[in-house]
């Protein structure tokens, strides 16, 4: 069953701060929840479904629903890392289509910058069946993605300068975002001259580490119709899992190869119809490979695709991450999926910063990646429209 136009994003909220030393993770969840509900013109009392992921403290959705004082009959704690919140939108749309719920609240919060919290999900890693085979080699998040970059360069001739173009575009957008963690525009040379962390990825190939959070409110058609707010119809949804394939490792593809076509088919559109794209940007290489897998260009041509300001708003071929993305603006809780949806909604409402607002933005894509491109990942794609 298709969920096309069954669900609508009625409220979004991004925490304005990037360092939040004086609040708990639960407090930040609550703050963004109230913010998104207020944006929609709803209250906690209207929520009948709550979604959280691995960043939610304690017992996850159970703990947080209790803390928030929710009276809901639908909880979901699906954890796929940074892509969780896009998957939650799909799952909320499915539950709305089934007639189970009308108002879904999705929250994210974390404090990796001032709270010392590790990436979500890591608490369970020690018991993973793969743990003893992957935790002996000094792999960090960036060195894993760096292996993906090395292989892409080997197979397709992709260059560090091409990857740097992605950071340049993000920084060009971030200068207009007063809340962005990094607001300075950078050049390709500055990226290439920044400190090498893990060959071939430099410091400026990596996303920021920020405290923060965000929330979404997804509602049924009936609720959307009685709200004053500009609600955003969910046109298409897709999810893809990609793992190690039992030792047949392939570092040049992501789960977007599965989630993208599914979302496009459900929405009834093609990549050329997309006016704006929020692309998960844990690292520059994440963006480049995802663009290929979503079908914006051929496999292996991502390096050429991002040249000539292609990703720069408002007039590039595919304006992306106009808030500055995870590379410059915000990567709250080390999970960038939530903010990807929020900026896509801003674009479709015409509420992005005037300097980066895409004219006549009618169809937007948001894509999240969770886990690691180097090992196992969950990829989620949403295609959003405008009523």
């Amino acid at each position: 069953m298709s969920v096309r136009r069954v669900a609508h994003i009625a409220g979004v909220y991004e925490h304005p701060l990037r360092e939040i030393p004086d609040k708990t993770v639960a407090q930040i969840h609550a703050q963004v929840a109230v913010g998104a509900l207020a944006d929609a013109g709803l209250t906690i009392a209207d929520v009948d479904a709550y979604y959280s992921a691995g960043d939610a403290p304690g017992f996850g959705a159970l703990s947080m629903a209790d803390y928030l004082g929710l009276d809901c009959h639908h909880l979901n704690d699906t954890e796929t890392g940074g892509s969780s919140y896009l998957l939650h939108v799909q799952q909320a749309a499915q539950a709305i289509a089934a007639g189970h719920i009308d108002v879904a609240l999705i929250t994210l919060a974390g404090k990796p910058r001032t709270g010392g919290a590790g990436p979500g999900g890591s608490a369970r890693f020690g018991s993973a069946p793969e743990a003893g085979f992957e935790n002996q080699f000094g792999m960090g998040v960036i060195s894993g993605y760096a292996m993906a970059a090395t292989r892409h360069m080997y197979e397709y001739g992709t260059t560090s300068a091409q990857l740097a173009e992605i950071k340049v575009a993000a920084s060009t957008h971030a200068q207009h975002n007063p809340n962005a963690f990094l607001k300075d525009v950078v050049t390709v040379d500055q990226v290439l001259e920044s400190r090498m962390i893990s060959d071939p990825l430099h410091l400026l190939d990596a996303c920021v580490v920020t405290d923060g959070g965000g929330a979404l409110v997804v509602v049924s058609d009936a609720v959307a119709k009685r709200l004053d707010r500009h609600t955003i119809p969910v046109l298409g949804t897709g999810f893809g899992f990609k793992g190690m394939n039992s030792g047949r490792v392939d570092l040049t593809h992501t789960g977007a190869r599965i989630s993208g076509p599914a979302a496009f088919e459900e929405a009834g559109v093609t990549p050329s119809d997309i006016d704006y794209a929020s692309i998960y940007d844990s690292f520059t290489i994440t963006v480049l490979v995802t663009l290929e897998d979503l079908g914006f260009c051929e496999k292996g041509k991502g390096g050429e695709f991002v040249l000539d300001g292609a990703l720069q708003a408002p007039y590039g071929r595919l304006p992306f991450n106009t808030d500055g993305g995870g590379l410059c603006n915000n990567h709250p809780a080390n999970r960038g999926g939530m903010t990807k949806v929020i900026e896509a909604v801003r674009q479709l409402r015409g509420e992005a910063h005037a300097e980066v607002q895409v004219p006549d933005c009618e169809i937007a894509l948001a894509h999240g990646t969770g886990g690691s491109m180097a090992t196992r990942m969950g990829s989620a794609t949403l295609i959003l429209g405008r009523d």
Binding site: F133, E134, Q136, G138, G140, R151, R195, G247
Partner: protein
């Protein structure tokens, strides 16, 4: 097979379990033993006792040659915890064994800048001191006991 070897990289002892004990026992003797599916011949990495391709639970521990090629790698130069800091720069890699499986590892005992995709490598066994060893690789043209 290789003799006992020390790369000086951290070699934290793994926690073998009922499924992986034979694999770890073999590492202590300088062997890569993997579970090979008796029904379809597939060799999963990491080792497990139900074949992910055909769901057979008839798997036989079999010794690999211990040679392979670099599928991909990265050279970490910064941004690691205390245990690894003194070993910078170091090479994280995926190595494809000649028998097929691609495994995560380090390439050691060579200049990190000399590592390339496709480079031939040979396994070495870093003793953890607790009856197991961590499998790493060195370039094949070199003496793996240097």
């Amino acid at each position: 097979m290789s003799d006992s070897y020390t790369s000086y990289l951290p070699a934290k002892a793994p926690e073998p379990n009922v499924e992986t004990q034979p694999f770890w026992d073999a590492t202590a003797q300088g062997r890569i033993d993997l579970a090979v599916c008796d029904d379809c011949g597939f060799i999963p990495w990491y080792p497990r006792l139900m074949c992910p391709d055909c769901q057979s639970t008839s798997m036989t521990w079999t010794t690999m040659a211990g040679t392979g090629t670099v599928y991909s790698y990265s050279v970490t130069r910064a941004g690691v915890g205390r245990a690894w800091k003194e070993h910078l720069p170091f090479v994280l890699a995926y190595v494809q064994l000649d028998e097929g499986p691609i495994m995560m590892t380090n390439v050691v005992a060579c200049d990190p800048d000399e590592v390339e995709v496709g480079m031939a490598v040979t396994a070495v066994f870093d003793d953890t001191g607790e009856g197991t060893a961590i499998i790493r690789f060195t370039p094949t043209q070199r003496d793996s006991n240097e």
